[in-house]
Amino acid sequence: MKSYVLSTASAIAVCAAGVASADGHAEAEVLHYWTSGGEAKSVAVLQEEFAANGGTWTDMPVAGGGGDAAGTALRARVLSGNAPTAAQIKGPAIQEWYAEGVLADISSVAEANDWANLLPASIAAHMQCEGTWCAAPVNVHRVDWIWANTEILAANGIEMPTTWDEFNAAAESLQAAGIIPLAHGGQAWQDATVFETVVLGLGGAEFYQAALVNLETEALTSDTMIAAFDQMRTMRGYVDPNFSGRDWNLATAMVMNGEAAFQIMGDWAKGEFLAAGKVPGVDFSCASTPGDGYLYNVDSFAMFSVDGDGKAAGQELLAELIMGPNFQEVFNMNKGSIPARTDVDLSGFDECAQLSAADMASTNDGGTLMPSYAHGMALFGAQSGAITDVVTAHFNSDMSSADAVQMLADAVANSM
């Protein structure tokens, strides 16, 4: 703590004097995959704050593959003994990297700033490696959202569904009216996104935890899981025949244009609506998918062990800024997510974000705040990939639910 204050103070002092000295001067090389328009704008906020605090930021954005390319670049850097100061990693991958022995300890910053009490407990757990803090959370995306075209719902006398049966009934009547009930893109991760909301909705948070977080065979082969696959089969009937390979934002556009009524997608879809000038509650509605609980997808930065005082100072400054209330507010307003820290004033956010934050607080108290498996928050890549393979194989064929459940248990066993 003391050394941190000293180094930050000296970094600022050095900069104020206009003399850049190599040690003590906070510097950070940050590897991230926020490269699209809104995302790049969001990360620029951090960059500016870092510079304003006297740091030197070296940007290393790696586009492509939803972070796959960045992951590859990171591996190459670490293998060659030249790790970046900080890298965008999330979920159990943080602990996987920690097990490789390459992550730095940022506990001093975390404890000085009381992160443990600012973050929901289960999200804080993701940021810790064997008792030490090793990553800083940036945002919380909610995954279990259902988006709807408000006008279509009103015209057909439909309320936002609160159970899957209601959803099915609404979809039937929409279909009869000649509207595509569910806008969906046939990509494996989108199938997985819908699947996890169905599992959470039908089985509840406890079942979700047992099946998709702890991978208990009993839960994976249970009747509830068969029911979840049945629901997936039913919903296969609600998407248009041309859904294969469609990108998620095109599916969002279908809801916007009134071609389709609903979409199940994380709150990055909200960004699409807002960018098109749509107003929440007027043009589109947001609600959590049927059932209780909350599936989160938290972006975070992990700090790597690097040599040099300047880099260590950079890591501590970066960690503090990432969790700082100003960055959390500005960044998340740009990105469509909500702040990870719970004490940020949300009055400037839209009503969907406010709902998300309220639900995060209440599900945290109720113990139903769950990590999203489809977005790499709950499982190692090999395991979540094995589950996704089964989900997408079932959704894209006429496999029976019983076969799918058996295949799921086999695939999970094979991925260990």
Binding site: R75, E96, G186, A188, P241, S397
Partner: protein, 290 residues
């Protein structure tokens, strides 16, 4: 010194590329083989743990689909591209007037990258944009052409696009082969009153065996390493219905942090190449020596 240089110049000049090939090809094949025997996940580990990754590969329905797809795609792609290429070459060989222009037209797809081919065919085959929508627009309301979004048929769209891309190139190969056949033999056959189809089937095509070998090798390696076309055309979908071993390997290595699986699937791919190409090469080269 000068003498020594003179004697060893060829070795010195070849040494860098020899070393590069040894390290970057054979060295890394060895490295991959080693890693495929470990439990490597996110990062490579070097503790050998028997054939566990190959066992997992054998139990993976997705890899099974990928291997089946490789068999379907490889066979159809090689056979159709060769047959079409040969046919086009023979037709072009009839001393027609605009041969130069036609040859260029057929050869042009080869100038495109597989990504461009894949994207173009994705739009052409998309039921809402391409052929189906066009024919429906002409008034045939019941016309359906949904191969791209049908898990059972999607792999054939990959064949279609790959054949479109490559058959012009095969045509050029065969055309060169046709032209290299000794005119005298053909003229002698014509003097003897042998029908044209017999001239082709009994004289010209058999004498083009080395061209068949070249075409086969080129197409076979295109088929086995096919990756970009699938990524652009179907993304491996619907589901994983059009996965090939190369896309499987990519998913394991780069999306899932399962390097052991990726390495073992890469080794299986290499074995497939060896079992198909090596005996063929061997027999062809041997008969030539005799």
């Amino acid at each position: 010194m000068a003498r020594w240089l003179q004697d060893n110049m060829p070795k010195i000049v070849l040494a860098p590329s020899f070393i590069a090939v040894m390290v970057f090809v054979y060295g890394f094949i060895g490295w991959t083989a080693w890693v495929s025997l470990t439990r490597s996940r996110l990062m490579p580990r070097y503790q050998i743990d028997s054939f566990i990754q190959y066992g997992r590969l054998a139990d993976s329905p997705r890899f099974e689909t990928a291997m089946e797809n490789l068999a379907i795609f490889g066979t159809l792609f090689i056979v159709i591209a060769m047959v079409l290429g040969l046919l086009l070459a023979i037709l072009l060989d009839q001393k027609i007037r605009t041969e130069g222009a036609i040859r260029t037209i057929y050869l042009y797809p080869m100038a495109l990258s597989m990504i461009v081919t894949g994207t173009a065919w994705k739009w052409i085959l998309n039921p809402e944009l391409g052929i189906e929508a066009t024919v429906k627009g002409w008034g045939f309301a019941n016309f359906e052409f949904k191969w791209l979004v049908d898990p059972d048929m999607a792999i054939y769209t990959v064949v279609l696009a790959a054949v479109w891309q490559s058959s012009g190139f095969v045509m050029a190969l065969f055309l060169a082969g046709l032209r290299s056949v000794d005119e005298e033999i053909i003229k002698a056959a014509q003097v003897d009153g042998i029908p044209t189809w017999r001239v082709y089937s009994a004289i010209i095509i058999p004498s083009m065996a080395p061209i068949f070998l070249s075409a086969f090798i080129v197409l076979a390696h295109l088929a086995i390493k096919a990756f970009d076309l699938v990524i652009a055309l179907t993304g491996g979908g619907p589901g994983y219905a059009t996965d090939l071993p190369a896309t499987y390997m990519y998913a394991m290595a780069f999306s899932r942090g399962d390097i052991g699986q990726a390495a073992s699937s890469a080794m299986v791919m290499m074995l497939v190449v060896f079992t198909i190409v090596v005996p063929y090469l061997y027999s062809e080269l041997r008969t030539k020596d005799d």
